[in-house]
Symmetry: C2
Subunit: 249 residues, 2 copies
């Protein structure tokens, strides 16, 4: 069976890791890469369910996820937890908290995870010497900003099926960026967390999944997903409310 399970993923090598992409826009010299490698603090395991950081903690570092998966969330004044993001191996966590020096989210491991810590002041010092490095930080943040706005654009206009399809495809694309299996993978999060992230309810997510499955676009058993008809999925995700019905026929 050719599926790849996210939480079984091998440790990500540095040139696959997007922290490394922080300094590898047009390749980085070996010397510079070594310098970066030296300020990165590796091997800090976070057990499933444990916090990488909590809202309110001092934010003087960013983190790169090497193995496992994380979610980040806020807690609303009413006490409900709102999931704001999921993180896969090779991705950067904590960028949004640099503004005020304190984390605005809490980050929790969905699976036991290994992360690298990059102290900001050291990174800053290094970035003075390496131009590509500071430019790439801006670039990464800019990209995130763009993504956030794009998701914001879709959030209201797309129906629940389109939203969920977009979610799966986003995961798939992010796996591809790391060179992993894109059609068949394991969801590290629960239905409720997906729902919270997408701004839907557990029940709606469940129903949408059932629908997409019986339409033959995906196959899900528990948390194992297979994207069967990627074409149809992309079409579904692309169109908002107008024009194309969830099932056109």
């Amino acid at each position: 069976m050719e599926r790849l399970i996210i939480n079984e993923v091998q440790e990500v090598s540095c040139d696959r890791c997007s922290i490394s992409a922080l300094c590898l826009p047009g390749e980085l010299s070996d010397a510079d890469r070594a310098a970066l490698n030296q300020i990165v603090q590796r091997a800090r395991p976070v057990r499933k369910g444990a916090c990488l950081f909590r809202a309110g903690d001092r934010a003087d570092s960013v983190f790169a996820l090497r193995t496992g998966s994380l979610k980040s969330f806020r807690v609303t004044p009413e006490g409900a937890e709102h999931v704001t993001g999921f993180f896969l191996p090779g991705e950067v966590v904590g960028l949004e908290s640099l503004a005020n020096g304190a984390h605005t989210h809490t980050a929790v491991a969905l699976d036991t995870s290994l992360v690298c810590r990059i102290p900001l002041d050291q990174f800053d010092a290094l970035s003075v010497r390496i131009p590509t490095m500071r430019r790439q930080l801006v670039r990464v943040m800019s990209r995130e900003l763009n993504d956030a706005q794009e998701r914001l654009a879709d959030a209201r206009h797309a129906g629940a099926p389109a939203t969920f399809a977009g979610f799966l495809l986003d995961l798939s694309d992010r796996l591809q960026r790391r060179g992993l299996e894109t059609r068949c993978f394991m969801l590290p999060m629960s239905r409720g967390e997906i729902a919270s992230y997408l701004g839907l309810t557990q029940e709606t997510v469940s129903r949408v999944i059932a629908r997409l499955q019986q339409d033959g676009m995906i196959a899900i058993h528990a948390r194992e997903v297979r994207i069967v008809d990627e074409q149809a999925m992309r079409a579904l995700a692309r169109c908002g409310l107008h024009g194309c019905r969830p099932t056109p026929e």
Copy 2:
């Protein structure tokens, strides 16, 4: 009458402008500020309805708005225009386009506007010498990222009234940040543009306005807004769907 009209706002002095906030986290020396002032290209008037930049244009600068107001939008594959942001005097435009070197949005003046252009390469060169400057760029982007995520969180959970209330309060807060009148101001954009920005329809926006007005929370004539009951507005904006009804009585 103590209202202040956005498009009559005086030119924003440099220490009120958030481009300046790019380098003024804990104050900047006069010499450094002068250096920044020199790379900023001023006085480039954009007439109402004209483009500051178009999607696809090379993005090698960011812009600071001095006078007037802008909107930024994408055009969906179906040809509909989706508003992604509004900009008031003292705010920075174009940050989200730094990733790929090309603008992802189009920016259009809602009123005749004056902008400053900051060439990125020159800014970058300057930031090497001035540590606070490069840190503050990260800080500004981080803040934007945070805002975007917050809006994303609200988008689905909040009803239309809460969404609109949040929109007005956001404008009010941004005016306050610039030291302008916060309770009574002029909307530079149409109902349709508000609707597009919030992911609602023109009609819903209109209805919500009518409702908030008859509830005594705001007063609107045409594009002139007065926030009457800020307490109630904040309470409305804060709560999503759960707990508090639009009109609790």
